[in-house]
C-alpha cells in the first residue's frame, strides 16, 4: 500500500503509466461522447413542456457536474500537498485548474442559452447562478496565484491553502436550489432517489457525464505530463525521452 503511494508520488512513474492509459481514456470518451450526443440530440424523446430546447441538458449537466467535482478533486489534492508534500498532487492542481475554469464557463454559457427559451432570460442573479459565477472566480484566483509564485514548493502549498478555503463554495452551489427558492430547478440526478426523468432521457445523459469524466481524465493526464516534463526538464529521464524518441515524445507533449 505505502509502496504504491510512494510510487504514485514519483513523476517519472506517473509519466509512464499515464502514457499507457491515455489512448484508452481518449478512445472510450470519444466513443461515449459521440454515442451520447447522437442518442441525446437525435433519438431521445422531446420534453412535453420544453420541446427540443431541453436537449442542451446533455451538455449543461455534464459540464456543471464536472466543474464542481474538479474543484473537489483539487481540494483533495490540496490536502495531499499540505499533509504529505506530494509533488504530483500539486501537478494535478496546476494542470486541472484551467480545465475547471473552462468547464465552469461552459456550464454558465450553456445555462444562459438554455435559460433564454425556458425561463425567458439569459441571466438572473439567483443563488445557483451566482454561486457558480463565484466558482469561476475561484478558479481564476487559483490560476493567478499559481502563476504568481515562482518557487515551486511554496507555490504548491499556497495554492493548496487557497483551494481549501474556496471549498466552502461547493456545498453552497449544491444546496442553493434547496435553501433558497431559486429559479433554477433542483438536481435531476440524486443519490438516494431515482432520476426524475424516464430512462430514454437519463441514460444518454449519464453516458454524456461518463464521457466527459473520461475526457477530463485524459486531458488531466495530458496536462500533467506536460507539467512534469517542464518541471523535470533537467533530469536525465526527461532528457532521454526528448533525445532518443524525439518525434514520438514531442508529438505526445504538444496539446
Amino acid at each position: 500500500m505505502w509502496q504504491f503511494f510512494h510510487k504514485l508520488g514519483s513523476p517519472k512513474w506517473f509519466y509512464g503509466i499515464a502514457s499507457r492509459f491515455m489512448p484508452w481514456l481518449l478512445g472510450s470518451s470519444l466513443l461515449l461522447m459521440v454515442a451520447g450526443m447522437v442518442w441525446g440530440l437525435a433519438f431521445a424523446p422531446p420534453d412535453y413542456l420544453q420541446g427540443n430546447s431541453y436537449r442542451i441538458i446533455f451538455i449543461h449537466v455534464p459540464t456543471a457536474f464536472l466543474a464542481q467535482s474538479a474543484y473537489v478533486m483539487m481540494a483533495v489534492a490540496g490536502i495531499v500537498t499540505l499533509v504529505w508534500r506530494m509533488k504530483l498532487a500539486d501537478v494535478f492542481v496546476k494542470a486541472v485548474a484551467p480545465v475547471g475554469a473552462v468547464l465552469t464557463f461552459l456550464a454558465l454559457f450553456t445555462g444562459a442559452v438554455w435559460g433564454k427559451p425556458t425561463w425567458g432570460t439569459w441571466w438572473i442573479w439567483d443563488a445557483r447562478l451566482t454561486s457558480m459565477l463565484i466558482l469561476l472566480f475561484l478558479y481564476c484566483g487559483v490560476i493567478a496565484l499559481g502563476n504568481a509564485i515562482a518557487d515551486e514548493k511554496s507555490s504548491a502549498r499556497a495554492v493548496a491553502v487557497l483551494v481549501l478555503v474556496g471549498v466552502v463554495n461547493i456545498p453552497i452551489i449544491k444546496y442553493s436550489v434547496e435553501w433558497w427558492n431559486t429559479l433554477h430547478q433542483p438536481a435531476t440526478f440524486k443519490l438516494t432517489e431515482k432520476p426524475s426523468m424516464p430512462p430514454e432521457m437519463w441514460v444518454p445523459l449519464l453516458v454524456m457525464v461518463l464521457a466527459l469524466y473520461l475526457f477530463f481524465g485524459w486531458i488531466a493526464c495530458l496536462r500533467m505530463q506536460n507539467e512534469i516534463l517542464y518541471r523535470e526538464r533537467r533530469s536525465s529521464w526527461v532528457k532521454a525521452i526528448m533525445g532518443t524518441g524525439n518525434a514520438r515524445a514531442s508529438a505526445k507533449v504538444t496539446d
Binding site: 499540505l82 451566482t130 463565484i134 472566480f137 475561484l138 481564476c140 484566483g141 493567478a144 496565484l145 504568481a148 509564485i149 518557487d151 514548493k153 511554496s154 502549498r157 499556497a158 491553502v161 487557497l162 481549501l164 478555503v165 474556496g166 463554495n169
Partner: protein, 239 residues
C-alpha cells in the same frame, strides 16, 4: 534563513495572554506611527462614495435606494486596499519571522493582529458611515442598521482578507492578486450586508440577515486565522 534555537517544550509554558496583549500594544503603536498609511484607505472610501452621486445620478430616489450598496462596496474596496500593510511591514522588518518562532500559538497571534488591524481600519469606516449616509440621503433608521451591518461585517472582511494578504506576502504584484483571490469570498458578506438594509427599508424583519452576518463573523474568527497562519508559514519560508 537564520536558524534560531527553538525553545524546548518545557520552556513553552509561558503565559499566553501577556504575550498577546504585547502584540496588540505593539501593533497599535506601530500603526499610530504610520498614520498616513491608515488615512489613505479612509480617504479612498470617501472618494469612491462621492463618485456615485457625481457619476451615476444625484437624484434623491436613486441614492436612497442604492446608498447602502454603494457604502458597502466602497467599504469592501477600501478594506482590500488596507490589507496590503497588514503583514507587510512585519514581513519586511523580520518581525514576522520572530513571531513564527514564538512559543505562543500562531493562531492566536494572527487573531490579535487582525483584530488590531480592524480597530485601525474597519472601525473608522463604520464611524464615518453616518456622515456619508446622510450625504446619500439615507434615513436615520437605515443608517443605524447600515452601521450595525458594517460593524459586524468589516471584521469578517478583515479576517478573510488576512488569508489573501498572507498568501500574497512578498509577491511583486500583490495588490491586484490579493483582490482577485479575496473578492469572490467577500460576495456573501456583501449580499447579507446590503440585504439587511434593503429589508429595513422595506419594513421587513431583519433578524435573520443579522444572524447570518453574525454566523459569518463567528466562522471567520474561528477558522480564518488557521488558514492565515498556514499561509504565513508558507510565505515566510519562501523568502
Amino acid at each position: 534563513m537564520l536558524k534560531l534555537p527553538r525553545l524546548t517544550p518545557r520552556q513553552e509554558s509561558q503565559p499566553v495572554l501577556p504575550a498577546l496583549l504585547g502584540v496588540l500594544r505593539r501593533d497599535l503603536l506601530a500603526n499610530f506611527r504610520r498614520r498616513q498609511e491608515l488615512f489613505n484607505p479612509l480617504i479612498f472610501f470617501v472618494m469612491v462614495v462621492a463618485l456615485f452621486p457625481l457619476g451615476v445620478s444625484p437624484e434623491v430616489e436613486f441614492l436612497r435606494q442604492s446608498g447602502a450598496g454603494i457604502l458597502w462596496v466602497a467599504a469592501l474596496l477600501s478594506t482590500l486596499l488596507s490589507l496590503d500593510h497588514l503583514f507587510r511591514h512585519d514581513f519586511d522588518e523580520g518581525v514576522l519571522e520572530q513571531m513564527l518562532l514564538q512559543p505562543q500559538p500562531l493562531y492566536l497571534m494572527v487573531l490579535v493582529k487582525v483584530f488590531s488591524h480592524w480597530l485601525v481600519t474597519g472601525l473608522p469606516l463604520v464611524l464615518m458611515t453616518p456622515v456619508l449616509g446622510v450625504m446619500l440621503h439615507l434615513d436615520g433608521n437605515s443608517i443605524g442598521y447600515l452601521c450595525l451591518t458594517l460593524l459586524v461585517g468589516t471584521p469578517v472582511l478583515s479576517f478573510i482578507g488576512a488569508i489573501g494578504a498572507a498568501l500574497t506576502l512578498g509577491l511583486r504584484s500583490a495588490g491586484i492578486l490579493l483582490s482577485l483571490l479575496i473578492i469572490p469570498l467577500y460576495i456573501p458578506v456583501l449580499i447579507f450586508g446590503t440585504g439587511t438594509v434593503t429589508a429595513v427599508a422595506a419594513g421587513l424583519p431583519v433578524g435573520s440577515y443579522i444572524a447570518l452576518l453574525g454566523a459569518l463573523l463567528v466562522v471567520a474568527i474561528t477558522c480564518a486565522p488557521f488558514a492565515t497562519a498556514a499561509a504565513l508559514r508558507i510565505s515566510v519560508s519562501n523568502s
